[in-house]
Every structure is written in structure tokens, then in C-alpha cells.
Symmetry: C2
Subunit: 508 residues, 2 copies
């Protein structure tokens, strides 16, 4: 905690009873649950409540020293204005490069590197998903065993259909998301597409010839279900399987080779946060993010509503004023989007967050933002944009997305993520078929109960067993191992969330 | 076609070449593709173009008799104002009741009847979907074979997560959709829920005790993944399987018994329409809808943008002025929803529609609306509402939904649909796990190519082999057979689209 803070968090499992002397002269006036806050001094009505050296609220009534500071007793501050922000004002001290760190990956022709070797089947429209699921089951049973160097076959099904108003101002977001996921480094640029035929988002609109790199072809291999050649259902399945086999053959010939850590594109997010998120898992991830940046990698953080209250920290850390302006533009767009639906950033917090001790979105945001570490922010992606297409330099990138785990993960896949790391306090069995997901528990009791779902126990920080820096290094090394093929728990159980598109456009 | 129409549709496969004399004195001035329109008389610039006795556009230039009337040559009329509409003005001649028609269904305690006997697993939040998919695979392999009277086990996965702003004005739509799908008649009110624990949409908020009928319990059986009792992933899977088995045992004891046709709740929609939709499949379905209404059943039509241009037909057919006002309210809400996203109803049409001869949404709507038949409209459902909960009388119901096949089908499941019928011109391999789907092709060539995906060939009407009325009766009888257990093609291949929620609320 920061020296200016006037609250502290109870870390003990089960919380602490009234009467406990938590530090010399400070006695709890009431029982306080684990993860919740105690007032370190008496807070008069209207007083600022500070955590992370930030005002997370104002006391709604006097709270005596040793009292429980919770969401019912403090008022949330208004959102920071998006004008007059500091632009790239923080001195950018060059960090010492970290050299020599490698992992074994699959090199792609375009210079990107896969951490997995997966055949992905792109779909232009929701209508084909039942057929593609059927075909993928048969490919896995009948073809995949003959191509042992291929890790998996994945249907890139999604909810994009002709209902999405394709000419609406916001429609480019889901379209570029599907396009950019197809070129994720883990798919080796072996793009194949299943199309219906009558859809609005035709294959040539989704993947204009030449617009994305493909191996061995100018255009994507397309199977169109409405083609005259398809007589009977099995002829569609046969076409998809024949096309898939061509790509499986080429994917199977690939081998892992040593690649510099700079080829990693790591997507970070958190889900089901608690008050420990900001004390254990997220600061350790922030340290690992700094190590990745020093090793030349690209690291993305996201979740608009969870950075909104720390916008001044981000704009001041921007590498250039132009990057700061990009951050402001994305957050302003998102403010408008929420306002159109008559909500604001406070819609983010959940009952689980509050039960876990997070009083409001300001407190949650401060605990979330620390996973971005301390590096300068070198670039910004709008939802669905891609780091390579946008030619961003390596380093820390703000990929603007909703905080929804599924939407954020889908957008980070589109951004080019080849490794995903996910911190959780309450616990979520999140996983992706397209990319390995390392899961970090914020508390030891969660890590114990979910021993075969959580890859890292950051609760050891609160238990005094390890410090933030050492845990950051441990996570950094684990990332290199997983990038080299070590399976995460979510991979072992094959826990695969569906892709979830961010579609701010209306549907008809 | 109507006697006032000044265009006609070319029905011949492959279209007709220039020079063809299509009727005495009318020679084609250019080749016209199948499904496209020919001018029956010279249309001066600005002239009304009439099909279905409705103005579908105005000529942008003079079109000579025998000329091709397509989307480039006519301008779409503006949308009908929603004020000053005729309210329940059409004389409601009582239709002769059809008595004695039955099917073999599964009777539920609440009076509803299932056409299938399915164990559905409700989920409160997207986060649990990977775990539920894992559990359902094991239930199907290990438990289902021991319960032969149960047709299937279905995970009711969806994209609702804490990202959906739960207090937004539009948020009740996806919530009530998930709630009402859980009580679909095909699930026998054997409600079981998998919850994460920290989600905003807690089980008691999704399914308040007493709010929905459940067999053998006051509250839904809930498996909560974050419960302390769950140590290790397999303990979660075991809990879900144990809970599922209790419900499988009860479902397995059920038997089909004769039920009146009035227990049917039929959802109708179309997808991938062409110019034949309004000539063959949809009019035949309209006739079948009239037969169902005469037999006392509930029949829903939907797809807001496809009725918007025929709103005056609907309001005049409303059984009462109050029903007409409900129709107007839903369509006005939807106009606003589209306007917020800067689009309008014309976003509905696809390249496939246009290639198939539908010049614009007005023409498409007129061909779509005929599937509602000629009965009075006795009730209106807002998106996600349910016929039983709303205590609608039997008869023809307008269930207001987007036209998107997946969203419309999901909302009709929530409305209480136990049988789905779907007409298609271009062809779509649509199917649902929750309810049988009868698919009707508008053209013979599609029915021939997709011989094992299409259940009915309405192209026989254009071929002169059957008339609308006889085909309507054929569809009516097929519905009773399918309701009694006869499998549709989509069921035989297990083509199962994912549920797709209509969520007009923003995500954070
Ligand atoms: Ca988060
Ligand atoms: Ca998240
Ligand atoms: Ca339709
Ligand atoms: Ca539709
Ligand atoms: Ca799925």
C-alpha cells in the first residue's frame, strides 16, 4: 500500500473479528471480511478515502478508525474529464534490455511466430456454424490423427450474421475482428473459409485478396455451401474436409524453432476480480509485463472501464503526445457508447467484486491497471485492430476493449495475441481454443481449491512466501515455457469459450 | 400475383432470354434471371411499381414493357408513418374450427406440451460454458444411453456475461430471454442451472423462486462452481452429472400421449429469401398458419424489418385496437433502436436477396408477411416475452424480433415455441438443438440439391404440381408428424446453431 493511503486491506483468510489489534493502536471496531478495507484513521463525513494513493471515494458518514470501509459507506467520485490531461509527461527512463531469452515457436512467413500450430476454419456468417461444427468433429476424428504436428482444428464460429447492419458506422468493428482473428499467428496463415453464399459479408469483403498474408495462395481457400456442386449434405462436409486436409499437410510439416522472446504478443486481462487482484496477481503481472517489454515483446492491456478512472496515469505514460491522444480518443468513444445505452463505467462492477472487497469501479480500476507495469505506452489499438497491420513498435500497447472477458479475449486474438494471461480473484474457468491461456489466482485458497484450473498461485505474495518481483520473474519464465508448448490447465481440459464479437452496431 | 400489379416474376430455372414472348404481346427486351421482375407495361420515370398490390418503389427511369425491373432501376419508398394507422378495422369473420387433429406429445404440469423430451442445462453466465460443454459431453456418453426416453441433453450456453450492463434500460431483454428459454415446453420444467458464483445475474435473479413452474421443486437445482465444496475440476463435473442424473431419471419416466393440435406453439420465420419466397413457400406457410389457428394452436410470426413496410396490414388485422397499439409500440421501439445505430430497415436486405430478385426491403417484406396467413392477430410479444407468462389467447401472435435467423429463433424459443418452421430461398443449413425445425425450400432446384437438408419442396407450386392450399395442408400434416417425434433433416444431422441473445444494452 501507498504511504498516503488511509485504508488497508484485510488479507487473512476468513477475515478478522472485532477487537483484533491490526497494528499498534488500531483495533477493529467490527468484523471485517477478507479482502475488505479497514479505516486507518477516523474518516469524517465527506473525507477522501485513498487507496493506491488515489481517491476511491468520499465517506458518506463518519467512519471511525478501525471501522469497515465498504461500498455502502463511500460515494464514488465522478469520472475524470477527458480534457486537460497530461500528455506524455512522465520521464521515460530507458529500461535495461533483457537479452537472450527465447522460446520454441512456429515461424510464419510474415515474421510473426505461433506458440501453437492450429488449423483454423474462418466463417463468413453464423449460418454455416452447424455445418462447420459437424465437419470439425469429423476432421478431428479422421484426419487430425494423421497429422501429429498439428495441435488442433478450430472452427472460428461467431455470431456475425446478415442481421448486423453492415453499413452502420460501428459495423467495421466486428468485421475487422473476424478478419484479423483469421490471421492470428497461431494459425500459420493457412487461411481457409467456409461461406454460405448469399451472406452480406462475402469472402472477398472479409478477406480482400492481398490484404492479409496467406501461405501458398493469393486468396483464401473458400468452400461455399450454396455452390451448385454441393448436392446433398455430405458433399459439403467432403469439400470442407478435402480443403482442410491440404492445410493440415502444410501445417504438419512445420517444426518449432528457437525464437527470441520479442516474438511474443501477450494479451493480459483479469476477470472475477477481488481486492487481492490489486495486491498480488496484477502487480506481479505488471512486473512480468515490464520484463517482456525489456525483452522486446509486445504486451497488451485492455478493459476500458477498468482504466477509465486512471486515464491520467495512462496519458502521462504515453510514449508520445500522439499516443496519449489515441488513448483519449478510444476512451471518449467508449464513454459515448455507454451513454447511448444510458449507463456509465460503474456498470462494470459485479456482486462478486463487491463481496471480494472492491467498493466501486475506481478501486477496481486501480487494482486492474497495475498489471500494465511501468513501461511507456507505445501504441493504441481500437477494437478489432491488429498490431502488425497497424505497424506498432514492440512494447506496451493499450488495446481498447470492453472488460467482458470473452469480448476482450476475442479482440486480443484479433490484435495478434499468441499468448494470453488471465488473473482472477473469485475464480473463472476461462479458456480459449485459439491460444494458450495462463491463469493466475490472486488468493491461495482459490489456488488450492482450483488446483487443476489455476496455473499460478499469486496468493503466495499475501502469504509472505514470495515477493512481487520474484513472482514476476516466475510468470515470465512460465510464459516462455507455455509459448514453447507446455500445456496450461485450460488446454489440458480443453476448456474453450466461444468467440464473442464486440458488435456496437444494431441488428436487423 | 395481384390484378393491379404492373410487374411479374420470371419463375423459370435459369431465367428467360431476350426475345421470349412471356404472354401474348409481351416480349422480353433483355434477358431476365430467375426470380427477377419484368415490367408488364411501360413504366414512365417516377411511376409506381406495384407487386402484391403494394408500391414497392418508383421507376428511376422509364422502363419499357418487357424490361427488367431491378434494384438499380427503382427507388425505395419511405417508411410508412406509425401514426394514423388503421386499428383493428378489418372485419373478423369467424373461421370454421378444425377439430380432431392431434399429435403425440409430452404433457407438462403447467398445461404446456413438449414435442421433444430434452434435458436442458441453464447457465447464468457465459463464464461457465466451457465447463458445461465438458460435462454435457460426458453426460451424453455415460448417462444418456441409460435413459432412452430422453431425446437429448443441451447446454443452454449464451453470450450473457457481467459485461452486459444489467441496469441499462434495455437489459431486461436478454435476461428474460434466458429465463424464458429455461421454461421451454420441450424441457419438461426440469430446470437445472450451472452458476459461477460471482456473476451479476445470480440464479435467484434469473429464476426467482415461484416465478416459473418447476417439477418436483420450489427452486431450480443449482450447481455453483465457486462453492467451497468444489475442490478440483472433476468435482465440478461430478456435481453437474449428479444433478443431471436426477432430472434424467424423471424425464425418462415420461411418455408421449395424444394431445390436441391446440397445444402447438409454432414459430415461423424465413432466412435467405428470394423472389420465390413470396410466391411459393411463404403463402403455403400462411395457409398452414390459418389451419393451425383454426385448430386452436398458437402461431408466431416475427422479423420486425420484414413487417415494417406492411404495418398497416398488421394493425388493420389486429383483433382489437389494443393489439394494434402493441404492434405499433414494438415497431416504434425498433425504429428508434435502429436510428440510434444510424441505420434503418433497409439494412435488412442482403446481396443474396437481391440476386434472388428482391429489389428492396419493401418487396422482401411483402413476400415475408404472407406467411402470417389471414387470421386476426390476437397478441403481441416484446422480445424475450413468453406466451404463457403473458397469458395470450391461442391464435396468431406477432412476436417482435430482429429478422436475424439466430436471434429470431432464440427469441421464439423464449416465447414458448415447441415447433419451428423455416422457409428459405437461397438455402441455409439452420437448425436448433432445443426444438425441431422444419425447413421449406422455395424452389425445386434448391430442394433437389439440398435433398437431405430441406424437409419440404415448395417449388412444386411454381412448377404447377401442387397449389398453395394443398401444400398448406401438407405442411400442416407434416407439423403434426414432426411434433409427434418424426425427425427433421436438421435433427438427423444434429445441426445446432448456438443460441444468440438479442442484447440492445451496451457491454462494459
Ligand atoms: Ca478485468
Ligand atoms: Ca476481463
Ligand atoms: Ca426473413
Ligand atoms: Ca430470419
Ligand atoms: Ca458453441
Amino acid at each position: 500500500m501507498h504511504e498516503n493511503d488511509n485504508v488497508a486491506v484485510v488479507v487473512r483468510t476468513g477475515g478478522l473479528p472485532a477487537g483484533t489489534e491490526v497494528r499498534p493502536g488500531l483495533v477493529l471496531r467490527e468484523a471485517i471480511p477478507q479482502g475488505h478495507k479497514v479505516a486507518l484513521a477516523t474518516l469524517p463525513e465527506g473525507a477522501e478515502v485513498r487507496r493506491y494513493n488515489v481517491v476511491i471515494g468520499h465517506a458518506l458518514q463518519e467512519i471511525a478508525a478501525g471501522g469497515w470501509v465498504n461500498e455502502h459507506r463511500i460515494a464514488m467520485p465522478g469520472a475524470r474529464e477527458l480534457s486537460g490531461l497530461p500528455l506524455s509527461t512522465r520521464p521515460q527512463e530507458p529500461q535495461l534490455p533483457l537479452e537472450g531469452y527465447q522460446f520454441d515457436g512456429y515461424r510464419n512467413d510474415d515474421g510473426s511466430v505461433g506458440t501453437r500450430n492450429i488449423l483454423a476454419i474462418t466463417t463468413t456468417v453464423q449460418c454455416v456454424s452447424g455445418v462447420v461444427d459437424f465437419a470439425v468433429r469429423r476432421i478431428k476424428e479422421e484426419l487430425l490423427p494423421r497429422y501429429p504436428n498439428v495441435d488442433d482444428v478450430v472452427a472460428l464460429n461467431h455470431a456475425y450474421g446478415c442481421g448486423v447492419a453492415i453499413d452502420a458506422p460501428a459495423a467495421p468493428i466486428p468485421i475487422r475482428t473476424v478478419r484479423n482473428i483469421s490471421r492470428n499467428p497461431n494459425f500459420g496463415n493457412e487461411v481457409m473459409v467456409v461461406s454460405l453464399g448469399c451472406e452480406k459479408m462475402q469472402p472477398a469483403r472479409l478477406l480482400p485478396p492481398g490484404a492479409i498474408p496467406m501461405r501458398g495462395a493469393e486468396q483464401a481457400d473458400v468452400v461455399c455451401l450454396q455452390d451448385d456442386e454441393h448436392v446433398g449434405f455430405m458433399s459439403m462436409i467432403d469439400s470442407i474436409m478435402r480443403t482442410a486436409e491440404r492445410h493440415l499437410q502444410r501445417l504438419n510439416a512445420r517444426r518449432r524453432e528457437p525464437c527470441p522472446a520479442s516474438a511474443l504478443v501477450v494479451g493480459m486481462q483479469c476477470g472475477g476480480s477481488d481486492a487481492f487482484s490489486g495486491i498480488t496477481a496484477n502487480p506481479a503481472l505488471g512486473h512480468a509485463a515490464d520484463l517482456l517489454v525489456r525483452a522486446g515483446a509486445t504486451v497488451m492491456f485492455s478493459e476500458n472501464t477498468e482504466v477509465r478512472d486512471g486515464v491520467d496515469q495512462l496519458t502521462s505514460r504515453a510514449a508520445t503526445p500522439a499516443v496519449a491522444e489515441d488513448i483519449i480518443r478510444e476512451l471518449a468513444w467508449y464513454d459515448d457508447y455507454l451513454r447511448m445505452g444510458s449507463v456509465d463505467r460503474s456498470a462494470n462492477t459485479t456482486p462478486g467484486n463487491k463481496k471480494g472487497g472492491l467498493s466501486n469501479i475506481v478501486e477496481k480500476a486501480m487494482g486492474s491497471i497495475v498489471k500494465s507495469g511501468s513501461s511507456p505506452i507505445v501504441g493504441v489499438l481500437a477494437p478489432g485492430e491488429n498490431v502488425r497491420e497497424k505497424k506498432l513498435p514492440p512494447g506496451l500497447v493499450f488495446a481498447a476493449t470492453p472488460a467482458s472477458d470473452f469480448i476482450c479475449g476475442t479482440l486480443q486474438l484479433a490484435a495478434g495475441m499468441n499468448l494470453h494471461i488471465f488473473t482472477t480473484g473469485r475464480g473463472t474457468p476461462y479458456g480459449l481454443a485459439e491460444c494458450p491461456v495462463i491463469k493466475v489466482a490472486t488468493r491461495t485458497d482459490l489456488a488450492r481449491r482450483w488446483h487443476d484450473l489455476m496455473d499460478v498461485n499469486a496468493g503466495r505474495v499475501a502469504d509472505g512466501e514470495i515477493d512481487i518481483e520474484a513472482l514476476g520473474w516466475e510468470i515470465f519464465h512460465l510464459m516462455l515455457d507455455v509459448a514453447s508448448g507446455r500445456k496450461t490447465w485450460a488446454e489440458r481440459w480443453k476448456l474453450h469459450n466461444d468467440l464473442t464479437l464486440f458488435n456496437p452496431a444494431p441488428v436487423t
